[in-house]
């Protein structure tokens, strides 16, 4: 049967694979036939993620992306024996909600490091000839790159930077046959959302959902869009941001 989102034979590296959107991307990609390299900080949580994947040959590589200088070691492990990668999904991210007066330099650096710098370093390595021969890179951005919210200066900025670089890289990597896109979710039912709403904005949970005509999104809603961008069905799509927001930005 024709499956336009077929990913069989593709080896895909996913960061933030322990939970939320990253985990869901891995689960969906495995269902579509891909072999996954899961990246996350904690070995036990990654092993739990591995147990949720269909098919075999997947591996978990515990790694803290704040160790930017060592990102290449991930690719050495993922491409052992000369195997190449076909896809990269950067789903690792942190989402602080902080008024500007409470923002510290350490927090500025931490947010940019995980949400943005890590993406650059991952893309740099993915696009080396020894690790890929073409492929698709998908960054998990956010509607926060396009619409602000009070307390979101760090997060919104990091996602805006991510999208700007995504567009530049999509052009730069054309000769290498690597497509680069991002997916921009709104509020999705993930651990990040739970933490984010168990605060001052608890009352805002209903308000937030009300802003999304289709309600609160599920991680699979985002993962399926990511799978499309990883698949050959999207071969003519590069340098774009695919919004998956339940109508949030349509208003």
């Amino acid at each position: 049967m024709f499956n336009p989102m077929n990913l069989s034979g593709k080896r895909i590296l996913v960061t933030g694979a322990s939970s939320g959107i990253g985990l869901s991307c891995a689960v969906i990609a495995a269902k579509l036939g891909a072999t996954l390299m899961l990246i996350g900080r904690n070995r036990d949580r990654l092993d739990e993620s591995l147990s949720k994947l269909d098919g075999g040959g997947h591996i978990a590589i515990p790694f803290d992306l704040s160790n930017l200088e060592a990102v290449e070691s991930l690719f050495e492990i993922a491409c052992e024996g000369g195997k190449k990668l076909h896809g990269l999904v950067h789903a690792a991210g942190i989402r602080p909600a902080l008024p500007i007066q409470s923002v510290s330099v350490a927090q500025m650096q931490a947010v940019m490091l995980t949400n943005y710098w890590a993406f650059l370093e991952l893309t740099k390595n993915f696009s080396k000839k020894k690790y890929s021969a073409g492929g698709s890179i998908v960054a998990i951005s956010s509607v926060s790159a396009l619409a602000g919210w009070p307390g979101g200066s760090l997060y919104c900025g990091s996602k805006g930077a991510l999208d700007a670089s995504m567009r530049a890289l999509s052009l730069e990597l054309v000769p290498k046959k690597i497509r680069v896109n991002s997916v921009a979710p709104s509020n999705i039912r993930t651990p990040m959302y739970d933490v984010g709403t168990d605060t001052a904005s608890t009352d805002n949970r209903a308000v937030l959902i009300a802003k999304q005509p289709l309600g609160l999104g599920e991680p699979e809603d985002v993962a399926q869009a990511v799978a499309f961008l990883l698949s050959d069905s999207s071969r003519f799509i590069t340098g774009t941001q695919l919004v998956v927001d339940g109508g949030y930005l349509a208003q």
Binding site: A97, L98, P99, Q101, S102, S104, P150, G151, T197, D198, T199, A200, S201, T202, N204
Partner: protein, 81 residues
């Protein structure tokens, strides 16, 4: 980290007032333990600031229900340890 926590736990009352005055952008000495939060700019942004302050300085995570229960400066001082 453990050392840092011990140090922060020994924070004096005037130091705690200093942090709250900075957070509320209130004049030095203007806050009293009995000062009601609803006489200050105690909104969602202030709550986020308090969450960050208590988390960073005292290693504690405040919940939404705790935040909603706070009525006076004394309630904030009580979680700053």
């Amino acid at each position: 980290m453990a050392e840092k926590e011990r140090k922060e736990k020994s924070m004096t009352q005037p130091e705690k007032f200093g942090l709250l005055e900075e957070m509320f952008e209130a004049d030095a000495g203007s806050l009293k333990p009995e000062t009601a939060l609803d006489t200050l700019q105690w909104d969602s942004m202030a709550m986020l600031s308090l969450i960050a302050l208590v988390n960073e300085r005292f290693g504690k995570r405040l919940s939404g229900s705790q935040l909603k229960a706070f009525k006076t400066i004394q309630d904030l001082l009580a979680v700053m340890e």
